[in-house]
Symmetry: C2
Subunit: 329 residues, 2 copies
């Protein structure tokens, strides 16, 4: 578990693990709300609002499941994580609560609000040069080999995948109550595929639709080609910092391909429109990456059927950036 590069075999995430994670999360945190949202075309979709988690994103789920499963000896040596900010805060939050030392490798161009929040949770932040092309996994490997700490990968980790799946367990129960049945389709923002794979394990009957920013749609291309693809060098700038992952991992890809998933890409303008729609219709602050799935729905790229759920995955965004988005015509 100290070197989760794609070449290393990891145990497969399991549905049983998802259910166990869901029990642990239910004992820790209230369910996040599921809110109906009327679309301009008259349809209603069901929004699972993960931006209302204590750290402002679903990442608290996987971090909690992973860290609570560490042995006492592993806890004593600390944890290391790599993240632009949401996984960082999830791991920092769980580590503080469990009394575990946490070092988080973050890009030097991460949103200021995410850097500050991670430090405020007591984690040590180690910056790396994302624009300069420094490999964040190299930095993390150096930290773990120095200290014996456990690397908690943001998505390529079976516990993390299972933990994120707890979102789907909650969603199933809530939709049965609110929408009269299980979700038939769940549209979700996708970075490395941790949440998408977790939702798939949680909801065996649902279609899971991963959504990425244009140019960062390595998962969509991987699913289409059947082979893991990387984001191309020189990929365009995106406001979706949370979804800027270079490539998915085999354990995520195995779950996604087993379900025949197909990915969707959304434009930056579609993401901003979705942020504005959530602002005015749901009174929610959603970060760009957190609005990607809603962007696919509003952009007409995914159909809704009355039992379609949309994950609003995070809400950590700098005030100036959010002000600019909602001020746009």
């Amino acid at each position: 578990m100290t070197n989760p590069s794609p070449s290393v075999d990891l145990r497969a995430p399991m549905r049983e693990g998802v259910l166990r994670a869901a029990d642990k999360i239910a004992a820790l945190l209230p369910q996040t709300p599921v809110m109906p949202l009327d679309l301009p075309n008259g349809d209603t979709v069901w929004c699972k609002v993960e931006s209302l988690q204590p750290v402002g994103a679903f990442k608290i789920r996987g971090a909690w499941h992973r860290l609570t499963d560490l042995t006492e000896a592993e806890r004593a040596m600390g944890v290391v994580a790599v993240s632009s900010g949401n996984h960082a805060q999830g791991v920092a939050w769980a580590a503080r609560r469990l009394g575990i030392a946490a070092k988080i490798v973050m890009p030097n161009d991460a949103p200021a609000v995410k850097l500050a929040a991670t430090r405020a949770l007591g984690a040590e932040v180690v910056l790396y040069d994302r624009p300069g092309g420094e490999d964040r996994d190299d930095v993390a490997r150096r930290l773990t080999s120095e200290s014996g700490a456990t690397l908690v990968h943001a998505y390529g980790d079976p516990w993390v995948i299972e933990g994120q799946g707890s979102c789907g367990v909650e969603l199933a129960a809530q939709m049965e109550c609110l929408a009269g049945g299980l979700p038939t389709r769940v549209v979700t923002p996708c970075g490395g595929g941790g949440l998408a794979a977790g939702l798939a394990l949680a909801l065996p009957e649902a279609e899971i639709v991963p959504v990425e920013p244009e140019g960062w749609d390595d998962v969509a291309r991987s699913l289409a080609s059947g082979i893991i693809q990387r984001v191309a060098t020189g990929a365009p700038k995106t406001a979706c910092d949370a979804l800027q992952t270079p490539a998915t991992f085999p354990i995520n890809f195995a779950v996604m391909t087993s379900r025949g998933m197909q990915g969707i890409a959304v434009s930056e303008a579609e993401v901003r429109a979705a942020q504005r729609y959530a602002f005015s219709h749901l009174r929610l602050v959603i970060e760009p990456g957190g609005a990607a799935a809603l962007a696919a729905i509003l952009g007409g790229k995914v159909a809704s059927d009355g039992r379609t759920a949309v994950i609003l995955s995070g809400g950590n965004v700098d005030p100036a950036a959010f002000a600019a988005v909602i001020s746009e015509a």
Copy 2:
């Protein structure tokens, strides 16, 4: 019920009515979340997030309780309401769902987002000249006497007070689960005192603290003097459009005085700071009036004791206004 001026006797709102309203609301809508919020001083308060109601404010509660208690004959003649926007949307939402015609008297300087949302819910909007000093209750009286419609007053109505109290019933159950006990103190934005009186009936053991904008603190002055006071002519401008009520009603005042309430006033700068705090710490869009209670807490004007609840009462705010607030240093 067609002329609820302060000189008319109305039945008193009752705790039994609050509990009946809570049952009706529970059958209609999911509970709004209660979220813990860490203050800069290290204390935690419990935020009841009414901005996440379908119309973006708690007003849906009182409107639903009132309209569902109308007779068939009353329903056929329609309803009239007066509101800067949140009660407007609450009545319009309930009326559409029940197939009742609704006319809403709104000030011509109401936030554009509230005017548009009220019309989108199918209500007929009748504008009056607030800056010009036109009496909104006169406009409403003319409409009701013309049509025989029932006036659903925004706060001076026993059903409306009872309906708003359902928020307190939910809060009590949620705090017992999350905070290990009933709320000891509930800090709430206050316009005419509908929510404050409803919360008092719902929570017989709690201290209820109504919070108003400076210069619009007629309830605080009324409670201090023992006699209903009006907002002075030439009161300062406030961004808290939802709290710009000229005076409370005897039925509200009776409940508030019976509990020995004392009111608090907050400055415009304190309100904006509270909106920014909710943005960055809870990822919520809260309108100025909806943030007044949090402003009192953050401004150190009300103490917290670990079981203090804060009502975030609404989130309907124009994008440009919200962008300006979060862009402030």
